[in-house]
Amino acid sequence: MTDISLTEPAALNVRAATARKVGVGDARFRLIAFLAAVTVLLIFAGVIVALIGGALPAIRAFGLGFITTEAWRPAREIFGALGPIYGTLITSAIAIVVAVPVGIGIAIFLTEICPRFLRRPIGIAIELLAGVPSIIYGIWGLFVFAPWFQSWVQEPVIAATAGIPVLGTLFGDPAYGIGIFTAGLILSIMILPFISAVTRDVLEAVPSVLKEASYGLGSTQWEVIWKVAIPYARTGIVGGGMLALGRALGETMAVTFVIGNAHRIAPSLFAPGTSISAAIANEFTEATTPLYTSSLIALGLILFVITFIVLTCAQLMLRSMEKSAGK
């Protein structure tokens, strides 16, 4: 064993050098971590700059009229975004209207009603399904759902509503199987596992003391769910719904297969249409002129702005939920 003398100059030098070396390594490590965090910001800024830069020619050529024009004629270099915007909003609306009630139903079933031994397997199955790539839903929609939907739902509904003023137009011809309505339904099936999983998580976070108190006062099971559990979890459910809406708005593959890819706004929900993401996916590599490409990127910019707003609202709601839960 050697004694280290603090007064000996050589030893002091070694100590100082070691400390410096460690200090430099430490600072370098911290700098790398910092730069990685900044990279995330740079990617985000890059997305915005690239989209605006790419969309500029279209913005210059069409101005704000781009958003309000329905015509989309590549051959004559006339581009308007109204058709795709309409398709994106309507398909997402259909998806949310169908998937939210069913998703909440599944979540209630899983947290309150389901026999205990089934809870975990069904819960895990739903979480796994939430990770299935959207192209699977798309290919299933095209080959299985659309033909079935055409002969078993569209044709009877068209026949039944023909002649009725509003419904007759909304559910009018043609029964192609593919179209706006089919795309909305496929989207709803795709976001269903996601909504169920999020809602189940927030419902499970409801303190059982609250529910027990309510049962103690003589509430029925439904009254406990509806008047205690759901109000307690409301912010989380709405936040999860908004996240799902963000997914539906930006979803490409589940929609592109079944929407029909027609740039027009038809009065019938069964008619083919297009959405922003479907238009980009279908036409981007075929875009022959710079203005065509630029118009598609402008569509992407619009989509990004819409989803940004929706996702920001979702974040704010989920954050406030976490805060009130004391995290």
């Binding site: 690239a50 830069g53 790419g54 139903g105 599944i106 596992p193 930006g250 490409t252």
Partner: protein, 287 residues
């Protein structure tokens, strides 16, 4: 007086019981309805996919219409681009997550990074593809596997950042304090203590990211494009499983449809396997 009150109560009680029953039935049927659709999808996928499976999928490249062929070039392309994206995205994601959890947990910059990261996490992947198109494809003036890899890595980073941060936050502070008290500089504490403690969870993040990008189609369509022959040249266009599924499913040819189903089954099996391993690891981490 007393008698009428009991009757009124009984009516109310009956109504409440009835409402309860109706809504419970509604909720159960919603669950059955939803689960049936999801089961239906998996069943169709299995039936159509398994019948198209065979060793030729892994040995032959995608065929022209009417000829026999497999998916070998697409599988190789997907493997190359996925591993590239993981190699680029994982270090950035882990270091950024480490910065958020270890260096500036409550800082203003961290708040912004966290927010932006969550937006990127759920931003439409097709928009991220447009970003890489402008960044890589336009300057190079042609489609390439490099661009495809970059597009996928932009999707990997947010996933890894989020899970890394969450998993590091689970590491108890007493571990960090003990290491610091022994004189370890912060970088050593992180590398030898907190990363070690959170290892399983951080691997979960990477697996989830791989699961996420292995089915990602939209951003590949106009970055890596596709390729009908086997290619390992990363400066040129490259085939990928999801892009081939997309192209073949929308074609009018029956053989191509079969290959699309087989590809869909392969992708789903990969994703489900990865997610299950990730779940097991995460469970280990939380215990």
């Amino acid at each position: 007086m007393a008698a009428t009150k009991t009757v009124a109560n009984r009516g109310l009680y009956f109504r409440r019981r009835l409402t309860n029953m109706i809504f419970i039935i509604l909720s159960v049927s919603a669950a059955i309805f939803g689960l049936i659709w999801l089961a239906f999808i998996l069943e169709n996928l299995l039936v159509n996919g398994v019948s198209a499976l065979g060793p030729h999928l892994f040995t032959e490249s995608t065929p022209p219409p009417g000829e026999k062929g497999g998916l070998a070039n697409a599988i190789v392309g997907s493997l190359i681009m996925t591993s590239g994206a993981v190699i680029i995205g994982t270090p950035i994601g882990i270091f950024a997550g480490t910065y958020l959890a270890e260096y500036a947990r409550y800082g203003r910059l961290s708040f912004v990074v966290r927010f932006v990261n969550d937006i990127l996490l759920s931003a439409p992947s097709i928009v991220l593809g447009l970003f890489i198109y402008e960044l890589a494809v336009r300057p190079m003036q042609h489609f390439s596997a490099i661009a495809g890899t970059l597009a996928l890595s932009v999707i990997v980073i947010p996933v890894v950042v989020r899970t890394t941060e969450n998993m590091l936050l689970l590491v108890p502070n007493s571990l960090r304090e003990a290491a610091s008290a022994l004189g370890a500089p912060q970088s050593a504490v992180i590398q030898t203590v907190t990363w070690k403690a959170a290892q399983a969870g951080m691997i979960t993040g990477v697996l989830l990211a791989v699961a996420r990008i292995s089915g990602e189609t939209a951003p590949l369509l106009f970055t890596a494009l596709g390729n009908t022959t086997m290619s390992t040249d990363i400066t040129g266009p490259m085939a990928s499983l999801p892009a081939v599924i997309f192209q073949f499913a929308l074609s009018p040819y029956e053989d191509w449809h079969d290959l699309a189903w087989a590809g869909a089954l392969l992708v789903t099996a990969t994703v489900l396997t990865l997610s299950i391993i990730a779940r097991l690891l995460e469970k280990k981490q939380r215990n």
